[in-house]
Symmetry: C2
Amino acid sequence: MRIDALTTPALLVEASGLEANLRTMSDALPERRLRPHVKAHKCTALARRQAALGHHAFTCATIAEMEGMARAGLGEDLLLANEVVDASRLGALAREGTRVTLAVDSPATVDVAARAGVPEVLIDVNVGLPRCGCRPEDAGRLADRARASGLTVRGVMGYEGHVVGLEDRATREQMLEESMALLGRAHDDVGGAVVSAGGTGTYDLNGWATEIQAGSYALMDTAYAKLGLPFVQALSVLATVVSVSERWSVADCGLKALGMDHGNPTVADSDVWFCSDEHLTFAPAHRVRVGDRVRVLPAHVDPTVAYHRYLYLVDGDDVLDRWDVDLRGW
Amino acid sequence: MRIDALTTPALLVEASGLEANLRTMSDALPERRLRPHVKAHKCTALARRQAALGHHAFTCATIAEMEGMARAGLGEDLLLANEVVDASRLGALAREGTRVTLAVDSPATVDVAARAGVPEVLIDVNVGLPRCGCRPEDAGRLADRARASGLTVRGVMGYEGHVVGLEDRATREQMLEESMALLGRAHDDVGGAVVSAGGTGTYDLNGWATEIQAGSYALMDTAYAKLGLPFVQALSVLATVVSVSERWSVADCGLKALGMDHGNPTVADSDVWFCSDEHLTFAPAHRVRVGDRVRVLPAHVDPTVAYHRYLYLVDGDDVLDRWDVDLRGW
């Protein structure tokens, strides 16, 4: 099958780029040094490729991702790197034989885990990003409470989300060190074998963590492309030109096919003007015709993938496979 | 069932607000004066409510929306207000008895319609928004070509998308008049009974169009709320507070539950800081607790709805019904 036959917009993954990205990361962070984050691709077929390279522990962002990974036989060691207030579905997963670890950052979320029968937790520590995570000085006390509730505390996690996207590498390095000093202090109080942190932007800098939660590296986007990392942009959205006028053209790929929080997508040799619900208005350097196909490079991989039902694995214009984006929803 | 039992994030539609919006619009634009746009809600159960108020002609943005509406028995008069380069699925719909009208704006798209057996078209005219639509002076020639190809030309359409969101009503009115002058000129050349245009922001100003393609009015968002229209914000995303710290709190509703092209969502009595994939970081005026529910008001309704599988119709904290968002995808 050729990509010409696909209904557009369609999410394409260039097989050679994906394989190169997976191998580059595996070489840098073999086996348990990497805990791939599935939120970036939401696709168990892709996770299976990561597992085939030796990574059998995964990171998830939602309960639905945990359930989907378990259903796909990839439940050897799943971390939900988020707090939840109802862990009953996770308790059920654990009882069915999946290894379930849950992030906790408050007495309330510790109690949620204990009540639901989630056996293992990580103490989630705030390392500078204004989001979840307890204060470093509270981590030990929280671990004590967890252990007193019968939970196994595997260690700590702390996501330096305010650092991973910084374009200047030296700044990234310095701020990472500060973040990991906070996480280290918490780890001293908490104990346990696991220090989970990191992302695609810090994968080769974060020597403090025992495991890196990178996800975007597999598919990449234009935001991460600015960092000069050794990963190629394997993801694009195939669109069809439906209208051509003198100064601009229009393709059938818009706000319902692209995560827009990082801004407009990119089209090669073109100036992207704006997106509407089902349209991309752009000015191509070379005139296009109605019916032409263009590849649109998303600015942010994760919310883009979440709009699509399928990922098409391609080799240039040949479609090799169709993968379900089966970890969507909640 | 109470909303406390819903898995979050969950898309809520306040029944009283929805009903008020539908009635207000129906009173202003009865029956065929309104051709509701389904792209804003992507939900045939909601479209059925619009039909019950006398609107039996609908506007769609995708072929999948056309097919879904036909399948739901709402195919009395469906307009695809977009150009396509493969209309074979629309031809099939027409042969099965659905009334299918397709927008065309070029010789190529006229030929697409004719070849596929789509019986009726509207000449799509550019009225100022840099998107689809032919030049007004080309509309007559295009209509001739369509008729010569055996197509019935029902009239013209022209979407004043650059006008509908302008906050100043006088400016909106003036620019609308300019746009509709262009459409009127095209209509003189094209003929036909239909002049299709308009949106929620111009529904009560556009006296030139024979039918208004409004969609957002049913659910509304914070962008349209700035215009002082008589429609209430019926749509929200229910989220759960999962983490509380001194200066901010975090709810489980993020970039995969919200269209972000119009910026951050709004939470009552709160300052929204930013969204991550599955998180909303916000500073509430009054302290919240882990487990509390908050209602998040999206900035843009259409790309928000497209992320969700269900709409929950609610009356305050009571869940009245669950509607499939069954018109998603392509």
